[in-house]
């Protein structure tokens, strides 16, 4: 492939991945999936009933693997039948989204019904307002992941079939959404009522913020907060993963010669080292600016 063409394809994949990462994180935030879910689940037991969606569909990697694998399967079946690629991907994402909706509803209703003794009611308006938002984000995520997967199969000639690549990217986007995005919802949003950086004291367990700027807080308020930073930063993380992992072989194409292949490996190692050093510097700078936790210091003194 022409180097310029290769770069263009890579840029398109990176852009699609960035959108997928962002919507994946916001989708999990609307429903409080993954790590922040444990506190949403615990709250009623600690006498803090709430109006926050409890979407406990396993962790983010399996649930995104499910929607992406279903989308990839349906799209691949439709393409085998000779339908256009865009139509096939859109219908695949649509069916995956419908399945995701049923998973979301059963987990909210089921988890809440199993908390009868803590008197947590099921609010039907929460289901009616949040489930379409969850499904909307899930559609965008699945669509973008399918675009990335299709480009890998059709343009870059990846040997794996579409459904399998979509499945693997689904796990990846879920894993990155869980590791990068959850931090900005769990610690920062659920516990806004405690001092920043104070960690989660056992006495505060389950005492999540339940009242909003106006009225009672719900999952859509949480995604509004996360859309400012947590979602986009997750998108950047996933976009960079897709872009940089393809970039090394696009610049140093192993198809040209074995030397170029090794150069691509060297470029990958250099990138990883650069990232480690950069991350270390950010961490040190953050600790100097905000930490260590002051109250501990006074106790020690």
């Amino acid at each position: 492939m022409e180097p310029l063409m290769g770069m263009g394809v890579l840029a398109l994949m990176g852009a699609a991945a960035t959108i997928a990462g962002t919507t994946e994180d916001l989708e999990s935030d609307v429903g409080s999936q993954s790590n922040p879910n444990s506190q949403v689940q615990l709250a009623p037991q600690m006498m803090y009933p709430h109006r926050i969606y409890n979407k406990a569909i396993s962790g983010e990697p399996p649930s995104n693997a499910l929607i992406c694998a279903i989308g990839g399967t349906v799209a691949s079946v439709l393409m085998t039948a000779g339908l256009s690629v865009v139509f096939a991907i859109a219908v695949g994402a649509l069916i995956a989204t419908a399945v995701h909706g049923t998973y979301a509803i059963t987990s909210y209703m089921g988890r809440t019904a199993s908390q009868k003794r803590f008197k947590q009611p099921i609010y039907l308006d929460i289901i009616r307002s949040h489930t379409p938002v969850i499904m909307g984000y899930a559609f965008i995520t699945t669509f973008c992941i399918l675009v990335v997967s299709y480009i890998m199969v059709a343009v870059l000639g990846h040997p794996f079939p579409l459904a399998l690549i979509a499945f693997i990217w689904g796990i990846t986007v879920g894993a990155i959404g869980s590791s990068t995005g959850d931090v900005h919802y769990g610690a920062e949003r659920e516990f806004q009522n405690v001092e920043f950086g104070s960690g989660l004291n056992a006495a505060n367990s389950g005492n999540i913020v339940r009242k909003a700027e106006s009225g009672l807080r719900n999952g859509i308020d949480n995604s509004w907060f996360c859309a400012k930073f947590g979602g986009p930063v997750t998108g950047l993380a996933f976009g960079m993963t897709v872009f940089l992992s393809g970039w090394v072989t696009a610049v140093f194409d192993p198809a040209i010669s074995i030397t170029w292949g090794w150069l691509s490996v060297v470029a990958g190692v250099v990138l990883v080292l650069l990232m480690i050093i950069w991350n270390r510097r950010i961490e040190v700078a953050a600790r100097e600016a905000y930490g260590p936790y002051k109250e501990d210091e006074e106790v020690a003194a």
Partner: protein, 270 residues
């Protein structure tokens, strides 16, 4: 952790031995019935394989429920993924060497793998869950029968060459893996809590298994030996019935189901 169940044996509902019988007999009979009826009467009967997968999934849900009630908490999803992981290895091995006895060989292999992993979890890792060995054996067997049942629905046979060509080489094994695995793990995970009821969990299992059946039906459109329309239509009908039943059970079990409203008051909580 309280969020992970009562920390003791799950109680109530249908006895586990009955569910084992439904899962094993239903799964195996349906795999063979699907295979032979497709050969004798035409591809329209491939859907029977998916009915077997539903039996196996319900059995798997019940087994996950029993073992996860010992406070596994976040381990529930992992155990579902493990079920299908063991199931994929065992079913591909069984179908490859077993020929016409493939499903039975796969089921026995899965049970052995499950037993070994259960023993490792208890003896080596020291998890100390009394029913670990039995449950892992059950979960692995249910995983293998789920994969075989859905493969029959997709291809109309469990013969290894056809399964390899239509299910594995095309990558559709990925959707069997994740849709089957989620159908086994999600029901208990979704109904987790101190007031969980077996009938509600198993109804969720049927509903999720019906979704896997519909997806298998969609894949069957690319296969000549399996009809898509019966599988999709029966799957959708089963999904509708199970979902309605589930909502009914939620209304029965929940503290309150209200259109909208404020949080319960302090007095109400006491």
């Amino acid at each position: 952790m309280s969020a992970g169940g009562a920390g003791g044996e799950a109680t109530g509902g249908i006895p586990q031995n009955k569910l084992i019988a439904v899962g094993v007999l239903g799964g195996l009979i349906a795999a063979y019935a699907g295979h032979f009826l497709v050969q004798a009467a035409g591809p329209a009967f491939a859907f029977i394989g998916a009915l077997g997968a539903i039996c196996a999934i319900v059995w798997g849900c019940a087994a996950v429920r029993r073992v996860a009630s010992y406070g596994l908490g976040t381990g529930v999803p992992s155990i579902g993924m493990m079920a299908l992981g063991m199931g994929v290895v065992a079913s591909l091995f069984g179908l490859a060497v077993g020929g016409i006895a493939g499903p039975i060989v796969a089921f026995i292999t899965a049970s052995i793998i499950g037993l070994v992993i259960g023993a490792l979890a208890n003896k080596v890792l020291g998890m100390g869950i009394p029913i670990m060995e039995q449950s892992m054996t059950e979960i692995a067997g249910a995983g293998a029968l789920t994969i075989i049942g859905l493969s029959v629905a997709m291809t109309g046979t469990f013969m290894f060459d056809a399964v390899l060509e239509t299910v594995v080489a095309t990558g559709y094994i990925a959707v069997i893996f994740i849709a089957g695995g989620m159908a086994i793990l999600h029901p208990f995970n979704a109904n987790l809590g101190p007031d969980e009821q077996q009938d509600r969990t198993l109804t969720t299992g049927v509903e999720k298994a019906a979704i896997a059946m519909v997806v298998a039906g969609i894949v069957a459109t690319v296969s000549e030996d399996a009809s898509a329309i019966p599988t999709i239509m029966i799957g959708l009908a089963l999904w509708y019935v199970a979902f309605r039943k589930y909502v009914e059970l939620v209304n029965r079990d929940a503290y309150k189901v209200i259109g909208t409203g404020l949080l319960p008051t302090e007095e109400e909580l006491e």
